[in-house]
Symmetry: C2
Amino acid sequence: MTSEIDEENQVLSPQGESSEDQSEQDCSECGAKGRCLREGLGEEQMQGLRKITRTLGPFKPGENIFRVEDKFKSLFVIQSGAVKIETASFEGTKLVDGFFFRGDLVGLESIGAHQYGHDAIALERTLVCELPFDHLESLCSFVPRLQRKLMIILGQKIRYTNDTIVHGRYMSAEKRLLSFLQMLCEKKIIEKSDNTGSVQLPMSKGDIASYLGLRPESLSRTLTKLQNDGIIRNQTKKIEFLDIKAILQQVCG
Amino acid sequence: MTSEIDEENQVLSPQGESSEDQSEQDCSECGAKGRCLREGLGEEQMQGLRKITRTLGPFKPGENIFRVEDKFKSLFVIQSGAVKIETASFEGTKLVDGFFFRGDLVGLESIGAHQYGHDAIALERTLVCELPFDHLESLCSFVPRLQRKLMIILGQKIRYTNDTIVHGRYMSAEKRLLSFLQMLCEKKIIEKSDNTGSVQLPMSKGDIASYLGLRPESLSRTLTKLQNDGIIRNQTKKIEFLDIKAILQQVCG
DNA sequence: CGATCAATTGAGTGTGTTCAATGTCAGTGG
DNA sequence: CCACTGACATTGAACACACTCAATTGATCG
């Protein structure tokens, strides 16, 4: 409830830049439309939500939206761009714990903690919508559908982690990579007509490897294998899908 | 499975058995006291919570509290005993996705889904307290502290998984086991005076292995290694801790 | 007591790791 | 414009840790 996010150490809206609507949120142009928390709320209910939110950014690649040990205050909806969260592992190296794209909520991982447990770092030019958690929580009490929506999102996050990471421990490097590509297809695919398409990768291969629980070298080898099999074409900042079906069908292979 | 959870498909209180208080819940004797959702609620607020809950069980070892694809209706607080949840992996084998002890909430994983995604199976004689989720949700709207508590618990679950399972992928079998033993210490330790103690294991070694992402053989070898190092004494249904400090300190080793 | 399942032990294999070298690319400055 | 730099990506060779398969021992229960 304290200050605007200002003056402290993080989450500063890069001054001159911060986008169009500063005072009250106009959701009509938001890139997260159709995937945001507010979906399904009536017009009157949205009023409340709009009042507590505001747009931050744009963040440049590498900039932090928040840092480990910053005081936990807000969730962030990604309006455009992409974000990763990472932590120091027990060995000291950085581990990537998640990627977030347009419409995703960043910060759920820290609900109930006093501080954020991750660094949240923009991977490309990124706009986010800040939702102060205290306000959001109060609002939830008055808007049961919002409360419900938030709980559903939390449940989905738990399940998603379980299905990918937890069960991923029993999958080969190739399967892990395939299910990652599958996720990318669903989130970012450009054109999937005729079994083909491509994705611009906002994150480094090293980040992907870390997220999948592999070494960069292992990921690289696996990528070249898929390329030799004619399933993808592997480039530095881009992956072309030559056989989308093969990727989507991998689940039970 | 012809359990006495019978007829419908799940979540029915085994007739003759269900313990003392059927009509309205008396929390004063509950084994989960001090760790339950209701902690921190005032007396008037607890009224509401008591009205919607009831005790189920006792479940015998191997009995289901609910099954995969049962309709999602309720969360369950464990009053006494222990529970595992498991799913079929993509290969068909069963994977253990979690263990739950006195005071833990089972079912969070399915919030927002229509059906449970796991089998929940009692590991020993177990009593649970059923919280119909619809009622709980409504109640949350009127009792902000309850809403908050539930969100906190969801956040904690996300963090716990991240800290153990996700980061565990980068740990050796020995470290995974040690951090599991650490968890057991915190949840179930009998006597930790003078750097010693022991835990009765409610689950099989195979279940532990599955939960840790290892093969039973690998776990067994790791257990014998720790025994040779003088850190534990490994028995079939029991582990003695000969050097608790070594276990608690492993985090950064 | 024998039957059944869980747990342990051994020997050999394999997938991903480690370490080291090479290659690619964007940015900088002469 | 080209050489230099530094981060990222790829490739190769040797290794290690956990896996696989198989046999043995140990517990539990009818």
